[in-house]
Structures are given as C-alpha cells and as structure tokens.
Amino acid sequence: MKESIHIKNLGPIKDIFIDDIKSITVLIGESGSGKSTLMKAIALFRWIYKMHNIRSYLKRSKVSKSPFRFRMDTYFKNCGFEQYLKYSPEIIYTVEFPNKQKYAIKFANNKLSGTSDNDLVQLTDLQYSKLSFISETRNIIPLWADKGASLAGGYLGFYFHEVYNDFVLASESLKELDVTYLDLKFAVKKLQSEKKYLIQGKTDKYEIDFKNSSSGTQNAIPVSLIAEHFSNHFDFEEAFNRTLLKFLSQTDRITDFKPVKNLGEIQKKLYIHIEEPELSLYPDAQCELLNDLISKCFVKNTNRINLIFSTHSPYIINHLNLLIKANDSDMLINGAKISFEDLAVYQIEGGRIENLIVQNQRIVNTNPLSDTINSIYDQFAQM
C-alpha cells in the first residue's frame, strides 16, 4: 500500500507533495517552517481514511446508516489550522494498493470529498489502523498525571490530550519499562485508588516521582513507552471491537449488522508521529533514544509501524546514516538498524520540501544541519 499527500496553501506550507510516505519519514527545518503542520495534516488525513474504512466496513456489513459525519471545521480547529482556511488550502491524500486500486480523499474549496457512499473501500482493501501523535507538549504529562484529578475539566489542547491518552493506555499495559539509554526504569504503582508513575535508577539506586525526574526523562519516557506499547502490546482486536460497538450502539438497526470480514482478515497498521523525540536530551542519549525507537518499531516489533518524526538535531540525522550502514552490514547498533529503502528525510524550507536522501550513495545528506557549525567558525576565523 502506497500513501501520498499533496498539500497547498496550508499555513507555512506552499506546495508540498510526497509521492510515497516511507515507513520512516524524518522532517527537518527551521522553527515555523511547517514540520508540525505537515505531520498534523498527514495524521489528520490518515485518521479520516481510517474512519472512511470503518464506515465502509459498516456499510458493507449491512449497516446502512452512517454513524458519524466528518466535521472538517472541528478537525482543523484541533490541528490549529482554522486560521489557514481563508487561504484556500488544498489537501489530497491518496492510498494506492498493489492492484492499482486508489482511494483519494480531497479537501478543497472548504469541502471534503472522497468519503461518500460511492467511494467506499473495497472489501479486499479494508484496513484498521491506530494513530498516535506524540506532541512536544508531552513534557506536561507527569505534572498533569499528578494534578489531573484536581484539574478536572481542564483542557491543554487536542494534541496534549491525545498523547496523554496514549500514555495512560500504554502505562496500563506496561507496568514497567526499562529505559537503558537513560539507565533507569519507569514503573507504574497502584496505591489504593491512586496510580503513581515512578522513575527508578538502575546503577544508582533511587526512586523518585516521574514529575520530579529530569526534563529529558520526562520527554523521553512517553516516546519509549508509547512506541513499546503500540509496537508490541497494542490489542487490535479489542480496539476494533470497541470501535465497532461504539458505532453500532449509535444506530438503531444493530440487528442488520452482518460482518463481512473478521478482524483477522483486515489489514492492520499503526502510525506513530513524534515531534522532536530528542527534546532535552544530551547528544549521546539522543542517539540512544533513536536506537531504542527504531528497535522497538522496526526490529522487535510485532505490529507493523509507520513512523514520522521531526527533529532539529544534527546528531539524530547523522545517526540515521549509522543505522543505514548497520543494516547494509547486517549488523545492529544497540538493537537498531534502518533499511535505506524504507527511509525518507525531508528538509522543509520556504513552504516546500527537499529530499535529503543522496541519490548516488546510501546515505542522508547531513550538510543542512552542519551549516551552523561551519557558520560559527567562519565568523570565529574572521575576528
């Protein structure tokens, strides 16, 4: 299955076309260049396609009345895109199967198309997916988890609550997580009715509340925890049944439901989107976090993962080359390797993207993130 996306006039994005969204897609670019906008747009249209699949499944299972409507104004507001609407954005998200069957979902002239009854997904192409968006607001999780009960009704934005919900889901299935790259363990302890998140030192024996751990730990734990949960512990069947039940309960023709397929026959996909996984980490730890993430999602995984992340880190970008080389040499770097063919790295600049994969070698061009260090010493040399 090949995914492509074409976005025009969406905030900082002027015209971006990605013909084939690879299993690992990395975005670099200055602050405000549009990395998050691109990632949010991709995540939004993947979610719409997911819901279109659910609707298609229900329709083909004789549930004639659609249990939901797409509300683009709400979705755009959640993404922080509402002010972009006046510039007539256009987004086309296309999924193409090996049999050449294509499904295109288009937003143009303030209207969504490609999700009507005439566009239903064929039985053979039905897919059930789960999306996770690990936003840069994840560092609020420890405090929110600690104070959340007293802040009932508080709202910290759509993406915070998305990542918080995934964190809670992951911490329910994983009571402990070894975080070797930080030499610590994350643990969940139930104390009467209260759940406590703890950080335990491995070499230096200590135990502190998650909220009192370092900023690097607070940023990294949600990334590793959610990645581990979705890669190896996510229960598709439970999630699928829960989704079906939710929508079937909203229709009064539940007896009409005649499932056309079991979950086992439906393709499953997990999409993880991460804003700057390296936040607050020392360079060595950044590289080790990447090893951990890639290992969890692409080496030790039981679920198929598609990963997109943004970064400002030259260490992360350079480390990608080491992981490509490891794969080419049939080796692992702390459990990680990356297939060159599965990787895309884009620089977003001036509202457009540039592919940083070197065409005549099996590497990523790291020069854009080396420019600053060259500039510093050019100026140094002139003084």
Binding site: N318, N355, Q359, Q361, Y377, D378
Partner: protein, 208 residues
C-alpha cells in the same frame, strides 16, 4: 561555448553586444580547483586547498571555464539583469562529455550578511541560470550533444581552531564519499540536468 553566449544568447534576448574580457579559463590540468574571488573573478589553482570547486581531470580533457556571473554582469541592459539570478561558472569540455553549471560558495557568512539559506540560494541561482541559457535554442541544441549535464553546488567547509574538532567532526561524512552527492532536484532534472552537491574535499571527476 563562449560564442553561444556572446552571439546567440545576446541575440535571443535582444541585448547589446557584450564587451567582456578575462572571463574564460582554458585548462587541461589533471587536477584543478576553481576559486570565486572577492572581486568577482574566477581563479584556477593546481595546488590543493586554494579553491572551492575541485576537479580531477586525469584524461587531460580540454576544459573551458566561463565566468558566467561576470558575463551576465557585463551586459549593458538593466531590465535584463534586474532580479536575474546567475551562477558563478559554466564548464564545458571539448569532447561531447560535459556541460556543467557551477555555483561556488565559500561560506563567507559575514560577507553575505546571512547565516541561513546559503544552500537554497545556490540552488536558485543554478536553476535560474539554466532557465536563462536553455531559453536559447542554439544552447539547447549544443547541450543535447553532451553526455553529462550537471548543476553543481560547490560548498567549502570551514575549519575550526586546531584545538577544537567541531567542524571536522560535523563534516566527516563527506570524507567517506569523495564523488559528491547526487541530490533529487525535480526543477533542475526537468531540464535534463542532474544536481550534485560537493563539500569539503569532494571532487568532480572528469573522464573521457
């Protein structure tokens, strides 16, 4: 090649005759480097480390290097020049092998009054130059005879003080790949040209 500029390009754009001197370098040195000097001239060096664009020419091809920036600047037609981005050099070999557009950056940030977008600017200069010269039918005909057509961005690496290793460390990757990076650049590829980026010691190899 120079006649295609002074005659055909000038005629195509209906420009006054070009009066320009000292804008060509011909060489068959087996190794040479090109420097874009602060005075707008281009200089050829056969010693390593003096120029930014590095060429290996082991077959001793007869190569002409044209100071394209100087040529465009010399044209006495302000509307034509106004806003027209131009790359530094054109490189042409006497056989039907090479047709190269080159942009040479020495990364002199204080001089350029900018810290960012150096790469982007270089690519825009190359693309704009392609658009200008390939609007001339005779140059299109000439270029189609060439086997290797490239737009090249030559990007000098900086050095840090001897006791620090920052720039060396950040720029190590290019040492593993001496032939430069071929990058995806659809706007340039649409003209039948490839886009290459050369950094540090990366060298363009000219062969027969």
């Amino acid at each position: 090649m120079e006649g295609l500029l002074t005659n055909n390009l000038v005629a195509h754009y209906n420009l006054p005759a070009a009066t320009i001197t000292n804008w060509l370098i011909k060489t068959k040195e087996i190794y040479f480097e090109i420097e874009d000097t602060n005075t707008g001239e281009i200089a050829l060096h056969t010693n390593r480390g003096l120029g930014m664009g590095k060429f290996s020419n082991l077959d001793a091809l007869n190569v002409t290097i044209i100071n394209y920036d100087k040529f465009i600047t010399s044209i006495q037609d302000e509307p034509f020049k106004n806003g027209r981005k131009r790359c530094d050099i054109l490189l042409d070999s006497n056989n039907n092998r090479y047709f190269i557009l080159g942009e040479i950056k020495d990364r002199n940030i204080l001089k350029k009054h900018t810290r960012i977008n150096v790469n982007k600017g270089a690519k825009e200069q190359l693309l704009s130059s392609l658009q200008t010269i390939l609007a001339v039918p005779e140059i299109v005909t000439y270029s189609t005879q060439k086997a290797i057509k490239r737009c090249c961005y030559f990007n000098k690496q900086s050095t840090s003080p001897a006791t620090l290793t920052a720039t060396t460390a950040f720029n190590r990757l290019s040492n593993f790949y001496p032939d430069g990076y071929k990058m995806n650049k659809p706007d340039i590829e649409a003209f039948g040209f490839d886009f290459y980026e050369y950094t540090g010691q990366q060298t363009m190899t000219l062969t027969n």
